[in-house]
Amino acid sequence: MSERQLLVGPFNRVEGDLEIRLDVAEGRVAAAWANSPLFRGFEMMLTGRDPRDALTITPRICGICSISQSAAAAFALAEASGAEMPEQGALAAAILHGVENLADHLTHFALFFMPDFARPVYAGRAWHGRAVEAFTAQEGSVARALLEARARLFHIVGLLGGKWPHTLAIQPAGVTRTPDARDKVKIQTALRAHRRALETVLFGARLEEFAALDSVAGLEAWGTGAAGLFGEIAADLGLATLGRGPGRYLSCGAYPMPEGRATRAGVWEAGALRAFDPAEVVEDLSHAWMLGGAAHPAEGVTAPDEDMREPGYSWCKAPRLAGGTVEVGALARQVVDGHPLALALADEAGVRARIAGRLLEIARTQLWLEDWAARLDPAARFMGDWDLPKDGAGAGLVEAARGTLGHWLRIERGRIAGYQIVAPTTWNFSPRDAEGVPGPVEAALVGCPVVEAEETPVAVQHVVRSFDPCMVCTVH
């Protein structure tokens, strides 16, 4: 088979714009380059403004990770100002954020990832008819049911946070709306309805049973619901070995609360967990259309190279942790948290592991939300006082649906003097670094099968979408 180059784009059913360039040889991807072709310049927009404006502007970086962005901004401002959320304010913020993350996982599974298996290229497979019925784009029964479940779930954000996306409810010292007893039972009612949808459509069984899986054999034996259909497809198409990531996973720990984060923070590599030190983060600019040198985000600047000179090939910077690439996302979060199923999938590290990690997190997030809603105390305070400092610096690290998100803020004379953002897909879809080391998705695509007649290889699409990229966050 001849060697050829492919340009895959517009690459849809990912959030935002993505272009993938492929070198193909002997029926497999030999090398891949991920280009984030949109630059807007949010970090430049923020400079010189009142620091509180970050709470209004940064959610608008991304319409799908909007609450994640607002939470990161709130925590960065909190660190810079010494503000603290009252316990119940942090709980309400976690509920808002958890709802977004849960909804994003559903959007990804039902609308972005699964419709590819309804493609005619898979006609004749034992499961194809069921995939067509369940997941055909804009028509499938499961897609429709989960779309409706997602819209109803967001009523919780309507109630606690006014609207979704782009709420301003999360502030450095708490949340703007104090829920009353009636809000609490409405939230719990919405969650019970959501559990029913998940158990009926997605899992075909009790959530607790999926959350209790602790082995690959257990996952493979899961036969019910859309999760079971995915397992059947994954086994038939060999999705376990497709699209292997670096096997290094990062999580800063999800949902900061006074008693600690709901999931563990750390870096997992070669079977061992070590502490995550944000000081080890460096953004490399060697292959980005960016001027300047590599820097830690607290010192970083964003200056686009208007001439788009080579070797740059993307507006995305290349973050590295202690010099290496890491994968972030639901799987990474669950591995770092030490969930037995995620640990069993950590070395597999491919398409199946990523999707299973997300399904696992759907089940666990629903359970966390139920617990948090039960703990809401309408008699408590949800907002404290805080004052903006004239000078200060802070970082806000949160877990978005797609992984670790960091905001680094510097305040001088009451204005924003520096603002740098490293988003989950900045990690996963980074370009090459100065050493020539490809970013995680670029490396994961190598070896991916490409059929001779394919212009837009379907296996490549599975791998790319398994990361659930959010390209609008990536460059911002």
Binding site: G9, P10, F11, N12, R13, E15, G16, D17, L18, N35, F39, R40, G41, M44, M45, L46, R49, R52, D53, I57, R60, I61, G63, I64, T107, L111, P115, R119, A137, Q138, R144, L147, E148, R150, A151, F154, H155, V157, G158, L159, G162, K163, W164, P165, H166, T167, L168, A169, G174, V175, T176, R177, T178, P304, E306, M308, F382, M383, T456, V472
Partner: protein, 329 residues
Amino acid sequence: MNVLWLQSAGCGGCTMSLLCAENPNLFDTLGDAGISFLWHPALSVETGAEVRALLDAVERGETVLDVLCVEGSIVTGPKGTGKFHMLSGTGRAMLDWVRALAPMAEHVVAVGSCAAFGGITAAGGNPAGAIGLQYDGAHAGGALDEGFRSRSGLPVINVAGCPTHPAWVTETLLMLAGGLIGAGDLDRYRRPRFYADHLVHHGCPKNEYYEYKASARALSELGCMMEHLGCVGTQAVGDCNIRPWNGEGSCTRGGYPCIACTSPEFEEPGHTYTETPTIAGIPVGLPSDMPKAWFMALASLSKAATPRRIDVNAHSDRIRVAPAPKRET
């Protein structure tokens, strides 16, 4: 009616909001009315080469296009090239694509304030050179010039909002399909009047506080947010408090100010979003259709007449004093 949806330089939030359409869900709301997506970047199965073929067919006129929806601003930088946003896989700037495809469409709809006016992408010195489809901020003429008309004879329809309410988008499309939108159904910034003839103030649950100018001084207090916290709901178009968001929400119901996200240049209010600038203690930007002297006179009278219940609750994060209707006491 077919719809080609392009995501330009924005956050994708208007699509994400659209997916929150309810009663019935988005697929049924549009599909049952015969409205289908020729292509949508978040929803359609087609990727890569399939999409390039589809776009080419529209550009050549082989596929007749009913509605072109554009979400996100159009970036013109660097140096007027539009290369800050190349439509992936095509080697062409989105600026170029929009100019090529808009004349082919029966209707062109700007979804969201970015596509309408430039929006948040044009904030803070506008590093990417973001403009709207047919406006640059409040000024007529954007990626398409001031005189542009789609095949229907209408200018670009601006479904402004950041994000858009799902029903603003679905109802605009349903009305277009039903032949229910003419030039007279658009307001001065060409926003559909069915939602732009209302103010965010209409139906705001803080209206009683507004009547007495019983004002919140910090976010989370129940009082009206106009005097201190930057709320411009009295001057912002939108039916947000008549037809709430995500069940029963709105910005003011969530306890934070309306920032007039349906207005051109809302991204640069000239002050911190959550603070009301004052001149000699008087908030600037009072309701525009009321003489300022009258407003001040009424405000000082009503402030003086504020019942204790309203005064206490305005400065609290929950209702402390319940109403006591005369007939019940």
